[in-house]
C-alpha cells in the first residue's frame, strides 16, 4: 500500500447525500431562464410557479408558487403508474360517454411535472388518448414510496375548450400530519398562465406543463381564486376556490333544513339500493341527492339540475355500476333508452327526475346504450339525446361552478 492508497481509502465510505436541495436550487435556476410560453408539441412548457409552501424555499423569479422539484415531463411513467393510468382508461371505456376511447399504450404514459409540498413531492402523470378523455394521475410520492404502489387520484376528464378553458379535480390527503389540497387538471391552449390570487392580495403563478396545471394548497382559504390569463397577460376567466368546492361539481353544497324524501327507489345491477332523494336546504333550495353503493352525493339545489326542456340525463360511473341520472323538461312524459343492439328500455320519470341503472350486459361493445328518446303524453317524440352528449367530449363545453368572470 502506497501513500496514494491511503488517500483513496480516506473517507472512502462517504456516501452521497440527498439530491433534493441541490435539485431544487438547480430547478430554480432553470425556471428563472425558462421562457413563459414556449410549447413544442406535447413537451413541457415550464412556466414558473414556485412557492414556499414547504418553507424551505428561496424566492423564485416570479415570487411565490408551488415549487417544482422534478422535471419529469416526457419521462416514461414507471410500470405501476402506467398500469394505474391504463386501468383508469379501461374503466372509462366501460362508460357509454367514453365508449370510443381507444386503447392506450402504457408506454405512452409519462410524467408532466412534480411540485414540492409540505407532504413531500406531488407528481402529475398522464397517458394520451386519441379523441378520448384526458386521463391523469395525481400522485403523492411520499405515500407511494411507503405503500409500495402508486398512491393518488387518477381521473379521466373532458377536454377543455376556449369556452371551458380549465377543468380540475381536487384531491385531499393527509401526509405526515399535513392536510394537502391538490388541484390539478387540463388547461386549454388559450390559457397562457394560471395564477392563484389570495384574499390577502397575493398573486402567484401556478405550475403549468403540457397543458396541465398542478397546485397544492396547505389551506383552502375563503376567497382564493384561480385566474386564467392569455399570452398578453389579460385575464380570461377567474374561478373561486372555496373549501366547499372540493371538486368540480361540489360547489353547490347547501346546508339541509329538513328530512329527505325518496323520489326514486330502485336497485343497481348488484342488487344494492339506488335512490334519488329530494331534501330541503337553506335559501329555499331543494337538494337532489343520489345514493349509490351506500354513499350519498353532494347536495346541489334541484332547480340547477332540473331541465327546463328536453333531456338532461347523463351517465355516472360509480365503482362497478353505471347509472343514468338527471331530469327532463315538462313536455317529456316518456323516456326510452335505445341500445346498440336494437334493444330498448323504458326509463321511469318521477317528478321530472330520472335515475336508471344500466345492466352489466350493456357494458359490452355492441350492446351499449346509445340514445335517449323523449315522448310527450301522446307518444310523439319531442326530444332526443345521445347518451353522454353535451357534457363531455373533445369539443364540448362544460359548466363550472364558481365562475366569477364578468
Amino acid at each position: 500500500m502506497d501513500e496514494l492508497d491511503y488517500v483513496r481509502r480516506f473517507r472512502a465510505a462517504v456516501l452521497a447525500g440527498q439530491r433534493d436541495r441541490a435539485r431544487i436550487a438547480l430547478l430554480d435556476a432553470i425556471a428563472a431562464e425558462a421562457p413563459l410560453s414556449r410549447r413544442r408539441g406535447l413537451r413541457l412548457v415550464l412556466l414558473l410557479a414556485l412557492v414556499a409552501i414547504t418553507g424551505v424555499a428561496v424566492g423564485s423569479a416570479l415570487g411565490v408558487g408551488d415549487r417544482i422539484v422534478e422535471l419529469i415531463e416526457g419521462k416514461p411513467a414507471p410500470p405501476p403508474i402506467a398500469a394505474r393510468l391504463r386501468d383508469e382508461v379501461l374503466a372509462k371505456r366501460i362508460m357509454p360517454l367514453f365508449a370510443d376511447v381507444p386503447n392506450v399504450s402504457t408506454k405512452d404514459a409519462h410524467g408532466v411535472v412534480a411540485i414540492e409540498t409540505r407532504g413531500g413531492p406531488v407528481a402529475l402523470w398522464t397517458v394520451p388518448t386519441r379523441d378520448g378523455p384526458i386521463c391523469y394521475l395525481v400522485e403523492f410520492v411520499r405515500l407511494s414510496e411507503r405503500e409500495g404502489r402508486p398512491h393518488g387520484d387518477s381521473r379521466c376528464m373532458p377536454h377543455t375548450s376556449p369556452n371551458a378553458p380549465i377543468v380540475w379535480t381536487s384531491t385531499n390527503e393527509q401526509v405526515d400530519g399535513h392536510e394537502l389540497h391538490v388541484l390539478a387538471g387540463p388547461v386549454d391552449a388559450v390559457v397562457a398562465s394560471v395564477w392563484l390570487h389570495s384574499p390577502a392580495g397575493d398573486l402567484r403563478r401556478v405550475a403549468q406543463a403540457e397543458d396541465f396545471f398542478l397546485l397544492a394548497l396547505p389551506d383552502l382559504d375563503e376567497g382564493d381564486r384561480l385566474i386564467l390569463r392569455d399570452a398578453a397577460g389579460r385575464d380570461l376567466r377567474a374561478f373561486e376556490i372555496t373549501p366547499a368546492m372540493a371538486g368540480m361539481f361540489d360547489g353547490y353544497d347547501k346546508k339541509v333544513t329538513g328530512p329527505p324524501r325518496a323520489v326514486i327507489e330502485t336497485t343497481d345491477s348488484r342488487g344494492r339500493p339506488l335512490r334519488l332523494l329530494l331534501q330541503p336546504a337553506e335559501d329555499g333550495k331543494t337538494c337532489v341527492i343520489i345514493e349509490a353503493r351506500g354513499r350519498s352525493s353532494f347536495c346541489p339545489p334541484a332547480d340547477k339540475l332540473r331541465a327546463s326542456s328536453g333531456i338532461a340525463v347523463y351517465p355516472t360511473l360509480e365503482g362497478s355500476i353505471i347509472y343514468l341520472s338527471g331530469s327532463v323538461g315538462p313536455e317529456v312524459s316518456k323516456l326510452t333508452l335505445r341500445y346498440e343492439n336494437g334493444e330498448q328500455a323504458e326509463v321511469p320519470i318521477v317528478e321530472r327526475f330520472v335515475l336508471y341503472d344500466i345492466a352489466r350486459a350493456h357494458f359490452n361493445d355492441g350492446a351499449r346504450p346509445i340514445e335517449l328518446i323523449g315522448g310527450d303524453s301522446e307518444g310523439v317524440e319531442v326530444a332526443r339525446q345521445k347518451v353522454g352528449q353535451g357534457v363531455f367530449g373533445p369539443k364540448s363545453s362544460i359548466w363550472l361552478p364558481g365562475d366569477v368572470s364578468p
Binding site: R11, A16, L26, I30, A34, G74
Partner: protein
C-alpha cells in the same frame, strides 16, 4: 420521446441546454453523486451539500462557456466544485488538523480505522492548498492529469509537479507514522510468506 431519454453525452446535453435549459437536468442527475461525494470527503456534509448545489447552479449559469471537446463534463464540474471549496480551504485544513489531534472526524465519517485516519488527516493537512486540490482530484475524483489541468485551468506540467510533491510529502509523513502497521500489504505479504 424527448431527447434526454436517449442518454445524450454531457456535451450533447450541454449543447441542448443552451436552447432548452431543462436538458441540463441530465448533467445533474448523472454527476450529482460523484460531485457530492467528492465534496463530502473534503468538507462537512452540510457544507458539501450547499457547495454541490452551488456547483450545479454555477455550471448551469455558465454552461455557455463550456467549450470542451470532451464528452465528459466531470473535469469541468469538479473544477467548479474545487473552486468553491477554495473559499473554505482554511476550514478544510483546520478540520484535517483537528482530526489528526482528536481522532474524531469532523466529517462524521469513519475515515480510516483507529489511529490511521488521524495520521492520514494530519498528513493531508500539511499539504498546501494546490497540492491537496490536485491530489484529491486525482485520488478521489479519479481525473487524469489532463483532466485535472483542465479542471483547475493550470498547465499539465504543474499538475504533475504538484502531485509529485504531494505524494512525496505524504510518503515521508506516513512512513514516519506507519498508519497501518498491521494492515499494510507488506505486512500481510510478509505474514503470508511466513
Amino acid at each position: 420521446m424527448t431527447e434526454w431519454m436517449v442518454e445524450p453525452t454531457d456535451r450533447e446535453a450541454l449543447r441542448e441546454s443552451r436552447s432548452d435549459p431543462r436538458a441540463f437536468v441530465a448533467i445533474f442527475e448523472r454527476h450529482f453523486d460523484a460531485v457530492n461525494r467528492y465534496l463530502r470527503r473534503r468538507v462537512s456534509a452540510d457544507l458539501a451539500d450547499d457547495l454541490t448545489a452551488e456547483t450545479f447552479v454555477r455550471a448551469f449559469q455558465h454552461r455557455g462557456r463550456y467549450r470542451a471537446e470532451r464528452d465528459d463534463a466531470r473535469p469541468w464540474l469538479f473544477g467548479i466544485a474545487t473552486n468553491l471549496v477554495r473559499e473554505h480551504l482554511r476550514r478544510e485544513k483546520r478540520e484535517l488538523r483537528a482530526f489528526a489531534r482528536t481522532l474524531i472526524d469532523p466529517a462524521g465519517e469513519v475515515a480510516l480505522p483507529d489511529r490511521a485516519g488521524g495520521v492520514v488527516a494530519g498528513a493531508l493537512g500539511s499539504l498546501n492548498n494546490g497540492e491537496r486540490d490536485v491530489l484529491f482530484l486525482y485520488a478521489w475524483a479519479e481525473l487524469d492529469y489532463e483532466e485535472i489541468a483542465e479542471a483547475l485551468a493550470i498547465p499539465g506540467g504543474t499538475v504533475r509537479s504538484r502531485l509529485h510533491r504531494a505524494r512525496g510529502k505524504l510518503r515521508e509523513l506516513l512512513a514516519d507514522e506507519r498508519p497501518f502497521p498491521d494492515d499494510s500489504d507488506d505486512v500481510v505479504e510478509a505474514e503470508r510468506n511466513g
